[in-house]
């Protein structure tokens, strides 16, 4: 592999990892704080991508699509949380898996009914449709933009989680939600905000990815499964773990595709199995409870 090809794979892998982090961070927080295993999280990514396609096709502007799409995702998150997820807080994992699996089926049907089974392309905004030279290779500006926006978002999340009162409550909730409630904090509101934030982040990841991957049925599921792998590797409830897990998974996938074509998808799971054998609760997961 030439140096420029290696560099291109590296930046592509990192960009993919950053997108995956946007999805996985919501998943890990919703599980860590709300205690709900949300299989519909991948559907939010898919809905985001389809919204980007739909609105940008109508208005001709992906910027406008993102501007309108993110609040729409927040609204969808609020609806899903209030109508379905909030009824699951006291239930076992099986009910959570099944109800959110039902939501996956529902969102898939919705997508089929509204947008059909075709693959749709989304064009990048004119201002960012050039490429950046990278040695002998070229790097599309949209990929660069995506990477930098993700980095900014990740830094912003870090600030919110570590430096604000809200972030403090989130961290407290991730380690012991009952105690937070006992201290008189409105947990329902905290849960709602957190769920909507996770939904919006997953949707935004879908919108950013839409011009890169095209928009197609089932796109949410592959991201969902990979996000699960990320969360398992990083440890449930750990944003830092999700960040490093996402980069690890994305780089394993990107370089696997070049070095071992045909085994790339399997390689990601091999990495996960190795991590689990070594640390059954993930790299940065909490210590086992009461055993």
């Amino acid at each position: 592999m030439s140096l420029s090809l290696f560099a291109l794979q590296l930046v592509n892998g990192v960009e993919y990892g950053l997108l995956l982090f946007l999805v996985a961070s919501g998943l890990t927080l919703v599980f860590g704080v709300l205690g709900v295993l949300n299989f519909a999280h991948g559907s939010f990514y898919m809905l985001g991508a389809y919204l980007a396609f739909w609105i940008s096709e109508r208005t001709g502007s992906l910027w406008l699509a993102i501007l309108l799409g993110v609040p729409a995702m927040v609204l969808i998150g609020l609806l899903v949380e209030r109508l379905a997820i909030s009824r699951l807080y006291a239930r076992d994992h099986l009910s959570q898996v099944l109800l959110t699996y039902g939501l996956v089926l529902l969102f898939n049907e919705l997508q089929r009914a509204l947008w059909g089974n075709e693959v749709h392309g989304v064009s990048t905004p004119g201002a960012l449709s050039f490429t950046v030279p990278l040695g002998a290779q070229t790097w599309p500006a949209w990929r660069a933009f995506t990477s930098f926006s993700c980095i900014l978002l990740a830094l912003g999340m870090r600030q919110v989680v570590l430096k604000t009162r809200f972030g403090m409550r989130v961290r407290a909730g991730a380690s012991n939600a009952e105690m937070v409630e006992a201290l008189g904090i409105d947990v329902r509101r905290l849960f709602s905000i957190l769920f909507c934030a996770g939904t919006a982040l997953a949707g935004l990841a879908g919108m950013l990815a839409a011009p890169l991957t095209t928009v197609y049925p089932g796109m949410g599921e592959s991201v969902l499964i990979l996000s699960f792998v990320v969360v398992v590797i990083g440890g449930i409830g750990s944003i830092k773990g999700a960040f490093f897990g996402a980069l690890l998974v994305a780089l394993a996938d990107t370089f696997g595709k070049v070095l071992l074509p045909g085994f790339a998808s399997a390689m990601v799971y091999a990495v996960m199995a190795a991590v689990l054998l070594w640390r059954p609760r993930g790299l940065l997961g909490a210590a086992p409870e009461g055993r």
């Binding site: 099986l94 009910s95 898996v97 099944l98 109800l99 039902g102 089926l105 799971y269 059954p280 609760r281």
Partner: protein
């Protein structure tokens, strides 16, 4: 007693269909009974051991692929040769995946079984020599006639049901229920709980393999989609719909779901939305499934 009579009547009715010789019903109920075997096997894990596994479809698909490989590649056609080999393949895979997955507990276990299922899905889906996403045809099925396949499925369903219900009544089954109730206590009583769970996982994997073998026998082909996580999700749905922890409930749930699927397809193109609504409704309003309606009061 009443339950046993109902089950006997159901089994007799399913056997009677064989004599009607109607092609559609043989195929349709054959498929539905395969769903029953899958659901009963998964109930051993979900309902009795408290393990929510999403790897059930993986063992189903592996056995079906093993049959296609043995028949197409090695020319083995006798069920006496292929059945033990395919079940063995499914059980061996369950042993490896179970050993790895059971290191994790709770929600990690769910996600790890999910990941292994998808790993196998991509393995078969991405391999052109294994038919890719189109899957493989079984060039010579273990039994030729649809009637013979139907009777084999019927006999397998009865056998799996009797075997599992006997096993659950034996001390081994009591230990499994103990593990579901309080694993730490069982461990402190001296039971090697992980080994018990692994045995249950392998038995469930073998029953899923049996279902996959029968499915490939009935239809003559296997596709990677059959072993993806969505199938596992659907089997979980049947278990919960029927009522976990009862064995007969999940079997009933599988029959019901087959009918809903068949008639739903005729009514609307978007019948998946119907299934979705049903799943959500059952989880929210009927957590003990349809069997819960029969039983009246909570068990245990």
């Amino acid at each position: 007693m009443r339950r046993r009579l109902l089950l006997l009547a159901g089994a007799a009715a399913l056997a009677a269909v064989a004599f009607s010789g109607d092609r559609f019903w043989l195929q349709f109920l054959g498929k539905a009974m395969i769903g029953c075997i899958l659901a009963i096997g998964l109930d051993l894990l979900v309902g009795f051991t408290g393990l929510v596994s999403l790897a059930h479809s993986a063992f189903f698909g592996l056995a079906a692929y093993a049959l296609a490989g043995l028949t197409n590649g090695l020319g083995l056609t006798s069920p006496l040769a292929t059945l033990p080999l395919c079940l063995g393949a499914a059980a061996a895979a369950a042993l490896i995946i179970g050993w790895l997955s059971l290191r994790a507990t709770g929600v990690y276990f769910i996600m790890v079984t999910l990941a292994f299922t998808q790993m196998l899905y991509y393995f078969f889906n991405d391999a052109p020599s294994l038919g890719g996403s189109d899957g493989l045809y079984v060039q010579a099925r273990p039994v030729d006639s649809r009637l013979a396949a139907y009777l084999a499925i019927w006999a397998s369903l009865i056998a799996v049901y009797l075997l599992l219900s006997q096993m659950l009544r034996a001390p081994y089954g009591r230990v499994l229920e103990g593990i579901r109730g309080n694993e730490q206590r069982m461990r402190s009583l001296g039971f090697p709980t992980r080994r018990y769970k692994l045995v249950a996982f392998v038995i469930a994997g073998a029953t899923a393999g049996l279902a996959g073998y029968l499915d490939a026998t009935l239809y003559g082909f296997v596709t990677p989609a059959q072993l993806g996580w969505r199938q596992s999700g659907l089997i979980l749905v049947t278990v919960l719909l029927g009522g976990k922890g009862t064995l007969y409930g999940p079997a009933f749930g599988a029959l019901l779901l087959a009918f809903i699927e068949h008639y739903g397809e005729q009514v609307t193109e978007h019948w998946n939305a119907l299934i979705a609504a049903l799943v959500i409704a059952v989880v929210l309003f009927l957590p003990r499934g349809l069997a819960g309606l029969l039983q009246g009061r909570p068990r245990g």
